[in-house]
């Protein structure tokens, strides 16, 4: 027994000597990562199987939250899910495609104009919704003093001011435009860097192999040569799309948004979690959201992941 424990301590010493430093270096980040990412995700999964009103201890109710979400939550099925899919499908791939095309065009300009234009295109993404809300609220203001209303009244496109942010039919398109405007973010920069890194000889070799137009060049040379950056850009696009969910509430100033027109899954979570205190149910919606992100990321991965 004693012998055994001595052996164990010396094994531990050996481990410390060999790997201790590595764990020490990683510990600060790992601690924050576990506390603020791993634990909340696990907690969301656990809570999603419970009934929890923040006052009483959570009680286990199995899959009931998920069943309710899929079968009885009319608002989720009728508004939130279609809205989220519409928003995500337009803003995600749309913003991604836009980022790629713009990066591709920018890569064919000399250094100085490229840098200036890239900076302009990137700058909306570094402003948060907070700094920009005053701009959007002035432009889309519902009275005749709103900039868009005033412009359209002036040219007789409309006869009376439109309540842009309070009208169900306009809120979603405005949310999409505002989000697309700020979608040239880190992923855009990564793709621009990726295109610039491609060895020029690749294009010459491609031309010799019979590539005759720019479109073929993009498909057969540019994209395959920068697959890793394409994937990084895709992941960033997916995350920022789902993260942008609060925009509808910011613009319309209300949760729920007018007639649920701009209600996205993120707002639905907040609605149940912080307004109705149905934390277990809100957690189930969170899990569904995380799964949606994973599914989108899997699709991106199968498109651009390493082919080995």
């Amino acid at each position: 027994m004693v012998n055994n424990s001595i052996q164990r301590t010396s094994k531990f010493r050996l481990f410390l000597a060999k790997e201790g430093n590595a764990y020490a270096f990683i510990s600060g980040y790992a601690l924050m990562f576990i506390i603020f990412i791993v634990v909340p995700v696990l907690l969301a999964v656990l809570l999603s199987f419970t009934l929890f009103d923040t006052i009483q201890f959570p009680t286990f109710i199995g899959l009931k939250n998920y069943v309710t979400l899929l079968t009885q939550d009319d608002i989720f099925m009728k508004y939130v899910l279609p809205n989220t899919i519409e928003f995500a499908v337009i803003v995600g791939p749309g913003g991604y495609l836009l980022s790629f095309i713009l990066a591709w065009m920018l890569a064919q300009l000399p250094h100085l104009p490229r840098t200036i234009l890239a900076l302009i295109l990137y700058s909306p993404s570094m402003t948060s919704g907070v700094a920009m809300s005053v701009v959007w609220l002035s432009i889309f203001s519902g009275d005749q003093n709103g900039y868009l209303n005033s412009l359209m009244l002036n040219y007789n496109f409309i006869q009376e001011p439109i309540q842009w942010l309070q009208s169900p039919q306009y809120l979603m398109p405005i949310m999409i435009i505002v989000t697309l405007w700020s979608s040239m973010g880190v992923g855009f920069l990564a793709m621009l860097a990726g295109i610039l890194e491609i060895n020029p000889e690749m294009y010459e070799a491609g031309a010799l192999d019979g590539i005759s137009n720019r479109f073929q060049e993009i498909i057969y040379i540019t994209i395959p040569s920068m697959r890793p950056q394409m994937l990084f850009g895709a992941v960033m696009a997916i995350v920022s799309t789902f993260q942008a969910g609060a925009i509808g509430v910011t613009l319309s100033g209300a949760n729920p948004t007018p007639q649920y027109a701009g209600q996205l899954i993120v707002n639905h979570i907040e609605d149940y979690g912080f307004l109705r205190y149905e934390m277990g149910y809100a957690a189930a919606i969170s899990v569904v959201l995380l799964l949606m992100v994973l599914i989108f990321a899997r699709v991106a991965n199968s498109l651009f992941g390493s082919r080995e």
Partner: protein
Amino acid sequence: MSIFKPKRHSGIHYSGMNPKGYHPSQIKFYIILLPLSLFMLLPMVFIISHAFKPPDELFAYPPRFFVTNPTIKNFTDLFAKMSNSGVPVSRYLFNSIVITIVTIALSILVSTTAAYALSKKRFRLKQTLFAVNTLALMFVPIAVTIPRFLVIEQLGLMDTFWVHVLPALAMPVGLFLIKQFIDGIPDEIIEAARIDGANDVNIYYQIILPMIKPAIATIAILTFQATWNNADVSSLYINDESLKTFAFYITTLTSTTAGANAVAGQGIAAAASLIMFLPNLIIFLILQSQVMSTMSHSGLK
């Protein structure tokens, strides 16, 4: 003599990527990119112009885009103002500045040390930990607001300075970018230093850190954007008004739900938004070339 030099693009095909100078084929890109950039710039030009408008121009009908008689009255009003609960605006700004600086410093520390270990040290969990972090690139913080709230409550971080800082340190993208960058440093350099008797702290501090300045600049920018613009932490975890941030103060000016007077606050809100926006732009301008060189290491395999 240049006539004898072989041309880089041998005339078979002009690929046009990363050109050194002007070429007529670029015109079509300018035709698309210039108007688009101007359009993208509009909201930012608007915010600058709006912040300097006197009241009669803010509410002029028909509204005018550009300011004609610029004034700094909105800014003096802003700093003369107290929030509804009696906290001066300068206090929010001070909080934001301190929080941002502390968060950036700590974020650089924890991310670079962890990235060094993940890239250059050998240990059993290395591959697993990096895989977990890569998976976490897809993490959407807004999805787990509620469990995070419970964790923060249990840890007693509510209403503390640290609740602004600590959650921001777990930034998978930052660690990922730095780790990829350190991968580009040859192992031989580190081996040579080790033979000369350097320990891990020496190697990290004297070799790695000086070589990864671009990656540090990038994570500094990402952390800055995440922290400086953050209003959620103040609204979710802070009740003490004197601990809230400037970004949060702006939401009280513009949000209609909070019962703020949207009309009276317009000028102040515009001035505050400009103060919010400018540091983003200035910092990126200074560090942009460093960011671009980091981004070429960003590939996800």
